[in-house]
Symmetry: C2
Subunit: 325 residues, 2 copies
């Protein structure tokens, strides 16, 4: 049963302990990851199934987390259609893309075959469930319109109001691409899909409903129609898009979120810099009163590169030791 | 009555139209502000009462907003105690400050006499209420520990968990400084105080209660004890610190926030890039069902430097035209 603890909790079936994994659990805080990256660029690792699978497995081996997540980046499905896209390690584009004019059709995502081969390879060796993932259309659009990482991420919000027609065409293109991409991941063997909405979650409620929510509901429904749970993670307030579970950031009260449905979250990544006893106390406080099925313990955002491995280990141990009601 | 519409709405007294002002309303989007800044540095403008008063008045004259806010920066009260602090225009420090060791006492804020003289000067010429302001201890600490603006603002959250004792001492020093600073502003004539908590609002609920809320409640109580309304603006979820009104960001549902008490907010600054009719429609949608006393219309964050003046004007006109229930 331990091997599908994560999936059972998402489905609200009985569990004997809480499942836990960590957003960005394969990453720079792990010495074995840095060793791989010393020899290969970020994109090389993503594009080489053997390497992507190797780093995906590292935190499972090192920390004993209850789920693995495909090593990749939300921008990877855009590689076939956005020439010059690179990672440093944040995405960089040769120029901002604010229009679908000149983009190849969304079906180009089929050419990202290395992703699907990585998933197939991982399913043969993993003892815990494998999570696939995608960025949401609004979050992908944010990076595209911004031309990569930027300090304020305001260009996409400006486009929504200055030229809503162009924004809608870009979001529609991204919706179709995302639908195809998650479907291909599921067909390759992904057992859950997490949708990352770092920036769509920062839209106003009105703009979120107007530009994002309908597409998210269609994507979530397509995932669930294949019998696979969909986790919708967003920065900012909790918003209902029909997902199996909500991934919530560290500013949200987890008990209040759990009262609305299954949740995943949400310790502040900063807590992992505290001594192990303090990490355990924070996990206990966070799960108090909600330590039962329908909860997946995680951080409220990706683990920081400077995090001591001991902090990550203390977090996983603490989550796996919480008495389940 | 129009001259104190803003104060009446905060006190939930009858109003005949909604008051409106704009966070960062004196700023780079205004050509007359850029003309002053072409001749003087940001800090020169802050430190010269005639110049600070001039730019404070610009949006009142240009847009007809219902309140003025002192032109300054949340880091200004630290000038007497943090040598080398400058603005580019975001704050820059020669080195991060993560400890109170070596800092001058909080009473050094009395030396920022130009702030109090600017307030006195403004009160003699203004026909609308004057808002003073301060950063919260956690937000000031974020910039100090980070050494200025940084992309991720994670150093202070890390300090909270790595060395909570040092964080508490720094926050205690900042609480005393902030208490003195807002008191001096009120004594000089500030008719309301807005507390800006850009970063404290991004702490987890547990850390917010542990490290921030008690100090905020004391600061708010001190302001209100002087008969002056306190507006608590934070990024992120709405949190109760006993303020007269909550300033809420654009991701929050304004009607839900209003149901909990008087509010100020919260149009996405991006909307001001839309045509005037779309700006008016967004203001109408945002205030629907809550257009009555206890509401101050504002943006949900500071106006962006690239904003067309026409967008700002459309916003103010739209807010002032909403029928009040």
């Amino acid at each position: 049963m331990a091997d599908d603890l994560f999936l059972r909790s998402l489905r609200e079936e009985p569990i004997d302990r809480l499942p836990v994994w960590i957003m960005r659990q394969a990453g720079r805080y792990l010495p074995e990851y840095r060793a791989v990256r010393a020899k290969h660029s970020f994109l090389e690792v993503c594009r080489t199934p053997e390497l992507a699978a190797e780093v995906t497995l590292q935190p499972v081996d090192r920390l004993g987390v209850d789920a693995a997540i495909l090593f990749s980046d939300i921008m990877v499905p855009l590689l076939p259609s956005v020439p010059g896209l690179d990672f440093a390690p944040g995405p960089t584009l040769p120029a901002p893309v604010a229009s679908v004019e000149g983009l190849r059709p969304p079906s180009s995502v089929e050419e990202a075959g290395f992703v699907y081969r990585t998933i197939e390879m991982l399913r043969r060796s993993l003892s815990v469930p494998l999570i696939g993932f995608a960025g949401t259309p609004a979050t992908l659009a944010t990076y595209m319109v911004e031309g990569g990482s930027a300090k304020h991420f305001t260009a996409f919000r400006r486009l929504l109001h200055r030229d809503p027609g162009a924004a809608r065409r870009l979001l529609g293109w991204l919706e179709e691409l995302t639908l195809r991409y998650v479907t291909l991941q599921i067909e390759a063997g992904a057992q859950a899909i997490q949708l990352f909405d770092s920036w769509g979650g920062e839209l106003s409620p009105a703009d979120f409903e107007r530009f994002c929510a309908p597409a998210l509901r269609r994507i979530v429904a397509a995932i669930r129609a294949k019998g696979v749970p969909a986790i919708y993670f967003a920065r900012g307030p909790l918003r209902d898009v029909g997902a199996t579970a909500s991934g919530v950031d560290w500013t949200v009260d987890l008990a209040a979120a759990r009262a609305r449905g299954p949740v995943q979250g949400n310790l502040d990544p900063a807590v992992l810099f505290a001594p192990p006893e303090a990490v355990a106390a924070a996990v206990a406080a966070m799960t108090a009163g909600i330590a039962r099925t329908g909860l997946v313990v995680n951080l409220g955002h990706g683990i920081w590169p400077e995090t001591p491995v001991e902090g990550a280990r203390a977090f996983v141990r603490a989550a796996q030791s919480v008495p389940v009601a």
